[in-house]
Symmetry: C2
DNA sequence: ACGGTAAGCTGACGGCATGACAGGACAAGT
DNA sequence: ACTTGTCCTGTCATGCCGTCAGCTTACCGT
């Protein structure tokens, strides 16, 4: 469906080629999580992969191009986050459990992919449409179903709140908390306490009620 | 108080030197807001300032060093954000106005400094302590007084909520919304509607009540 | 087995950015 | 005019970027 993997100069990549390509991506991933994005050099990635810079340029136009590749792969993965909200109940204790699981699942996903997500976030903030699109895909995997949940849970009476805005704000908060959990620590919020606090916020935002004891 | 401005090799900078230094910082600021952080080169900054790369290296160890300088300057400025919360009332309509002004003031500050804040946020996320500290200084200028406000407004009965966590979450949300307002737009939240929605969230978080009509 | 064809890799190269230094230009006081 | 210390830049070694030609390797049909 996605067509064959091709090199920059148009050749079709075979088994061996795809292996090297993948190894380069893996090494880049690792580089991203160990050194600042600004300092990631093609030559280092190539060295780590046991190959030469020229080989890197066979498969990717530049570092950014390879990063986009990794990011897109991660965005595919993010589709699984939908299950954290889809078809879940928000009533009573079950609802609070839903909230906790959502927070857990989202934080886990973000932390697992923190290095690449940092770069995606930067790119999106800088106005790069490709990174923006990828970031939206990840966030939307939760925002979309969550918006529906908010709509379903707010009575027809209460029209002061825009469901999309609430849902977007909650997910933005989760993303921010995942990326900068150290900030919360420095505010005196223990790592253990972060999760329930976020879960509370989410529950409150979706249902508009305080959670049951 | 902050001692004299010095060059990398220890000389004391005079009038002319400080001017060049400042011009370099200004140009770097501009570069940051027009091109991706990864692509900002010393040679470009120097050229824009009408000088040579060697001059740049007289005043700063590298691009990052100069960026830190700009960031620290901005962090000083952020102290003014305190006034958005300090001594303000959170009761009734006045309280909602406080909330709106806080949102407005914070978003305005973030947007005014968006380029440098992007880099600070990235650095903090990457675990760089210097950037982390600067980011905390900016956020704390609001989080500190806001935490007090939350404490004062939550009855002694309600101990489920950690004031620091709530306050931190609200400010994180504001920062995220400021940095990625385009995301909200793409969720169908109009730019005009973003402000009141955030104000609502803040008011709710601080007082625990729905705002008065 | 053999040769043809396309994939795969790298050495080498020009170009550009980095970062250091020494020396020259400049301003200010004597 | 001379001295002193500030300020700037030409120059250079080093290292990364990004490209290309050309060599090696794997696959396939006969």
């Amino acid at each position: 469906m996605t067509g064959q993997v091709r090199t920059v100069d148009g050749r079709v990549a075979g088994r061996r080629g795809q292996e090297t390509r993948q190894k380069l991506l893996d090494c880049l991933r690792e580089m991203l999580s160990t050194s600042p994005y600004r300092d990631v050099k093609v030559i280092d990635v190539a060295r780590m992969a046991g190959t030469s810079p020229a080989t890197f340029y066979q498969y990717f136009p530049d570092v950014e191009g390879a990063v986009l590749e990794i990011a897109e792969e991660m965005a595919e993965d993010s589709a699984g986050l939908k299950e954290l909200v889809d078809g879940k109940s928000w009533a009573g204790k079950t609802g609070y459990a839903t909230s906790e699981e959502l927070v857990d699942g989202f934080l886990a996903f973000w932390r697992k992919n923190d290095a690449i997500l940092r770069v995606v976030t930067l790119g999106a903030a800088e106005g790069d449409k490709r990174f923006f699109k990828i970031r939206m895909k990840v966030l939307n995997s939760v925002v979309s179903p969550l918006t529906e949940a908010v709509k379903a849970n707010q009575g027809k009476t209460d029209k002061t709140v825009d469901p999309a805005a609430v849902s977007g704000a909650l997910v933005s908060l989760l993303a921010s908390a995942a990326e900068h959990s150290k900030a919360f620590t420095s505010w005196g919020v223990k790592v253990k306490d972060l999760r329930p606090n976020l879960a509370l916020q989410v529950y409150l935002g979706v249902t508009g009620k305080k959670p049951p004891k």
